[in-house]
Symmetry: C2
Subunit: 428 residues, 2 copies
């Protein structure tokens, strides 16, 4: 049942009316440096926001055993967050519409060297229509938009006529265990929407992601006898070369994967972090490399992990240092499959109509080459899982920013989508 023109216009106006408050709340979220393991304060803030809106709130810890027993669960390293998951629950007076999950993560990746930022990394400053700060685009703007959309309905005396779960999770940047935990807790709905910064587009297909740590450790020869490749740092670099060849093999197979044929380089191996050695004048005995690689939908993380282990073992057998010191491959984070959002769902149709009303142009869909929690809802809840959000700049980089005009229109799309998907009823 499409929205009336009158209701549509009231909703669009209501989002505009609430936008300053929405930005103030977004900035408040950005100001909190919610790095991995440091999301306690921000999750408590969200808990109070949910309560203050009259929602019931379910706050729970991650169940390590249940997560580890699930094929989509990622390992718990020493760095795993123990911040709680918070779910705000809206129940209508009359359950007449389709239920919905609105999800957002509040963990952010490290901000890196501060001197690389134009302003303080968690400033939330607005300049020329962009809000700057680590985590602003990815995805505190989305987290705030989830609430802002419900607030926009309430401002005109309406609320969803179906159950809505507003899920605030952590561990999206390292394992995906937070959203997986909402599934394991038993939450489900008729559709899920995650407003990650997708550039105003819907995610049609999405890679899985594997994290692994390569640990090279062993007894090197003495510095006075050393030649090239005879130490752990040189040896680790050799392993990277072998992994890059595996990466190229995977990219050469892109034609076999619908929605990936036209991507230039869909599978990326990122050598994200490295540490090795103790002293400039000692031959390094150890080197540890943190890697992230993407995975085509339909390929399991376990399979890719095995391919990585085989690649490393094959290389090591022919390396002077590594043959005697075989490197270890430790999966220490993401162990997640990708997904494809099959076209033609009602949820996508409703979102597309809402987008067109907000933007005056048809919604585009595209492949996203990074991890998103939508995979939990697509693969395990098996419901339409929509990832759709604003335009961003420099996500995971310096001067991360979100485009505020885009955010305004995305919030309009979201509010229209909720109103049509869930239906509306008068606030009591």
């Amino acid at each position: 049942m499409a929205l009336s023109d009158e209701l549509r216009d009231r909703i669009l106006q209501s989002v505009d009316d609430g936008f300053d408050a929405q930005l103030a709340y977004t900035k408040k979220l950005v100001n909190l440096p919610s790095l991995r393991g440091q999301e306690h304060a921000i999750q408590d803030l969200v808990f109070r926001e949910f309560q203050s809106r009259g929602m019931k709130v379910d706050r729970f810890d991650m169940d390590r055993d249940a997560i580890m027993a699930h094929p989509g669960g990622s390992p718990f390293s020493e760095h795993h967050s123990d911040a709680p998951i918070v779910v705000g629950i809206h129940h209508p007076r009359n359950e007449t519409g389709r239920s919905l999950i609105l999800n957002a993560h509040l963990d952010v990746v490290p901000e890196g060297p501060h001197e690389m930022w134009s302003d303080a990394p968690f400033s939330g400053e607005i300049k020329d229509g962009w809000m700057y700060g680590r985590g602003g685009a990815d995805m505190k703007a989305g987290s705030a938009a989830n609430l802002a959309a419900l607030d926009a309905l309430r401002r005109i005396g309406l609320q969803p006529a179906a159950t809505v779960y507003v899920q605030s999770v952590v561990e999206e940047e390292s394992t995906g265990n937070g959203s997986l935990m909402t599934y394991l807790r038993g939450y489900t709905a008729d559709a899920a929407l995650i407003p990650e910064p997708t550039g105003n587009r819907l995610v049609r297909a999405n890679v899985g992601v594997l994290w692994f740590q390569l640990k090279v450790q062993g007894v090197p020869v003495h510095v006075s006898d050393m030649g090239e490749g005879a130490n752990a740092i040189d040896a680790a670099y050799g392993v990277i070369g072998a992994l890059r060849r595996l990466e190229e093999k995977w990219n050469a197979e892109k034609g076999d994967h619908p929605h990936f044929e036209d991507a230039g380089h869909p599978i990326n191996l990122n050598i994200g972090k490295i540490a090795g050695g103790d002293w400039a004048s000692s031959v390094p005995s150890w080197c540890t490399i943190d890697c992230r690689v993407s995975i085509y939908p339909g390929t399991s993380a376990a399979d890719v992990a095995q391919q990585v282990r085989d690649c490393v073992a094959d290389h090591a057998r022919n390396d002077a240092f590594l043959a005697n010191n075989p490197p270890e491959v430790v999966v220490n984070g993401f162990h997640a499959e990708g997904f494809v959002l099959e076209p033609g769902s009602d949820a996508e149709d409703v979102l597309g109509a809402a987008h067109e009303a907000a933007f005056g142009a048809p919604m585009e869909a595209a492949m996203l080459p990074g991890y998103i929690d939508t995979r939990v809802y697509a693969l395990y809840n098996q419901i339409p899982a929509l990832c759709y959000g604003p335009i961003s700049r420099n996500v995971h980089g310096f001067d991360e920013a979100v485009d505020l005009e885009s955010l305004r229109r995305i919030t309009k799309t979201m509010t229209l989508f909720i109103a049509e998907w869930c239906g509306t009823e008068a606030v009591a």
Copy 2:
């Protein structure tokens, strides 16, 4: 004036008689983890040992300005030790012999991962004729031997008939500024002896050493757009490749350098330490590499530093990431020239005779491809600078150890050398 057979035999016996006490003291030194900047306690222990033997003791800090103004001074990084230098001074009643500097350093390099050691890294345990522990060979055994040689003379009622400076320094493993400071303080003598673990051989020629840190930092492309070489860690490895080519050029020139022609690979570039990136799923924006490279005698450290800078700049111009983010080369430690001990000095002759008496075989001389403080005395004091000490295993590695039978004989050589070089007089 050669020693009488009778005096020689009494000296050899006296070293044997004191050897248990010498080992106990050596173990005490090994037990103190005197890493860079953490040599305060051990230098105070040595101060008291000097005092208890009736020496005058001069304890002084390094003069940063004087060191930096000297061409052999190395930069003071944030890690530079502020432990004092301690010089014990023996004055004879009648100054009839030739004066001598006995030098040793007490700073040690990091022990690395403890699980790579068979025993605790600072145990000082003795097994099968070897004493184990970080810094035992390099060079606490030598430091203890300096005192043990004087103790051996005293045990038979003798003392050197010339001024002897026993210098206990730090910063030998990172800058060489400690021994340089003794020169700048004004200390000099007719010869210097440093019992580094040289395998019972005299050091004929010795490389200089340059430390530099390569700092790669800049804005990488986004992970979804990245290709090989487009991040700071990949880019840093590219620079290492360029530096390895420079290293090979230097090694190809070994025929031009007397005492280096027959060495397999006299110039070693060690990539000793690496750190970069913040997060597996973020493209790394920075990577820092700590390098050490050796230098032929006669080539200045400043010249080699310039060659390194030119090499890095040339490479950077042709690299996708580095052309926009030129790496920095920071000399942050050793900036030291090598030296050649020209054959034919009286000091070498006297040491050779002493060695033959202790070992029953002629002393051999060899090139040493690592830094030693002897360069200060050779290049700046311009006195015969003898580096000669025991057999070792795994210096800068795991299970570092010193051969105790070798140490006993080295101590005998040293005591005989002191007796003949300085002459002896009865203790008052």
